[in-house]
Symmetry: D5
């Protein structure tokens, strides 16, 4: 089984009432093992995330399902296994 | 079966003797159905390509196998199926 | 007959009611063989497209006919035949 | 007959002995009516040009034929007829 | 007599009712021989123009007289005669 | 105990003989639990890494100890705990 | 004890009534020894600040506590001790 | 006596009723010998200015006193005496 | 008589033996009244200059005559009379 | 007495033998009270400094006296007193 990994930076300046629904959605996808990591970028209303998905189509479906998707500025960088990674 | 699609822009200013090996390699990967499209960017020594691969790891293996890989400037944009595409 | 090929990246952040008309228009131009390819850029409300047209004037007419043209951010990169393309 | 028009900005910092051959080539293409306009960008070793060609392939052939092509930094912007142009 | 030439890229995303007055003004200045060329940038609501004026002051007066001046994003690149131009 | 987390993008175009020493050093720091994650950026000779360190001084000491440090282009983005992270 | 130092540039164009609360908050954090320096960037409604904090989490908590946080554009650059600093 | 010189580019897209007060203020500072030069950037609602002030604090006080300060985008470049200047 | 004014920023990192000839040339053009102002940009081997010339062609001739022209990075911004200038 | 404050970011990729002389010079200027602060930017061969000088001319003299000046990339941001600073 192959696991393409992707980084997503999501910026969103105007906090909305749907922030709570966004949080539940994110935690659901984390529990499903698809949203592998999430960090806050210090000083910004933005996060830095790692996704562990089967395909580009799956990743787009996950991201476009975010309650705040229409007001987020997302950029995806495709990642692969690194030859120096001791976990591989 | 899922087919993540990726775009690669490859810029290379200093033509080398290994250009011929680069061409054979590219055509081999095209014949294997992995390098779906390749176009010249008008006025530049650069191409615009679409890859049809199973995973990010496979794409990196294909690209890093290019004879000119070490002197190319490659940027990958992850693509997915578009809901308006009549071919899907 | 010559077939200049062009790439269009179209970004549009605010979904509108005319999204449906946009879809029909796009599929009509695809069926006419002018809009050769369309992909979703993963994580973005944007597409990556290839057009196969006779002239720059024809391409501008096609693009400016899009129902959402006035709120799209389009950038065109002119493409030509690549000498390594096995389909040529 | 359609006439796609294209702008080319060509930057080249290191003057070479083949500058003379570059000039003859440019004037030949001008006389053939393909290189419609050429201006110097003030203060820079760069030009701003308008080409009047039949296709993207023809334009790339013209540009890649420049004796200095391998050390030029060329960017092409596709142009079309403007509805306010009194010459059309 | 000297003729400094200048390029103007004018971007304007929100079409207005004064578009008609803008067109007449542009054609007047074209007929006066000051607005030497105008092209549409393919896929954009923007133009690419060449002006043939006596001074920077004259050019600013022409541009700031455009009915849509206050909502246009204009950038001027100063151009001079090119030594390879066969028309000089 | 606090664990500031940092992302490092390291680009390096000219492969050197000390690449092997670089790999050992990286794996040592990984085994020490300081270099939490490392991924290859697809199509590039670059990595994307997460460090788990006590202070900015410790991170700079780790990075400047890399055998290839003097020819790497490193950018650090400070990360913090995200309120939606289910692992916290 | 380690003291990671961080620089924050904060831009904010639209003065608000909460500017006074922002000032008290800033001076409180200064008195606590966490906001080590603050300067005005000449000609801009922006500041340039140095923070002296224990961790990235502490810094984000301080910054996100600013009354104007939601309309500020903050960028953090991680700083460490410099080997030429005579104060160390 | 030392005279630090500074350049200010001020961009302002939306003309306001206070434009007249802005003009008087500018001319007052010019008459005081502090605003040494002011030019219009051709085709833009922006100026290019040189200030001759005693300190950065004095310059910020002058600039923040502009009636349109809150809607201007100002960038200051610090200038010094040039060794080739024949006026020094 | 009209006096188009132009700003030139010239950057040059590698000091050469012809620096002395560059200085004489600059002072000659200053004495001729064409190179109206020259300042050093603080901390950089670069200048900020104002030229007072009759045309774009004259400016390019002056600049391309600089002994260091081939290794300078020059950018020209066209300037015009400002309506608030008390010297006009 | 006025004290304009300036920030200098200095990047330098190729370590040289004169690094030692650079360190002595920096510490001399620090002891003279002109180079108020110096920090290492984490992961980079670059520093972030604050200077406390009387004029732009004095700052340029200090910076251009650095043994490594000709191979450094310096950018100066002019700073002034901030109204919220409790030290003023």
């Amino acid at each position: 089984v192959h696991h393409p990994l992707d980084v997503v930076v999501q910026r969103h300046r105007r906090p909305l009432k749907i922030v709570e629904r966004q949080k539940s959605y994110s935690q659901e996808v984390q529990r499903a093992g698809k949203w592998a990591h999430i960090w806050r970028i210090v000083g910004e209303y933005a996060n830095f995330s790692i996704f562990d998905v089967e395909s580009n189509d799956e990743l787009h479906t996950l991201l476009s399902g975010l309650p705040l998707f229409s007001c987020m500025d997302i950029h995806v960088t495709p990642l692969a296994t690194h030859p120096s990674d001791i976990k591989v």
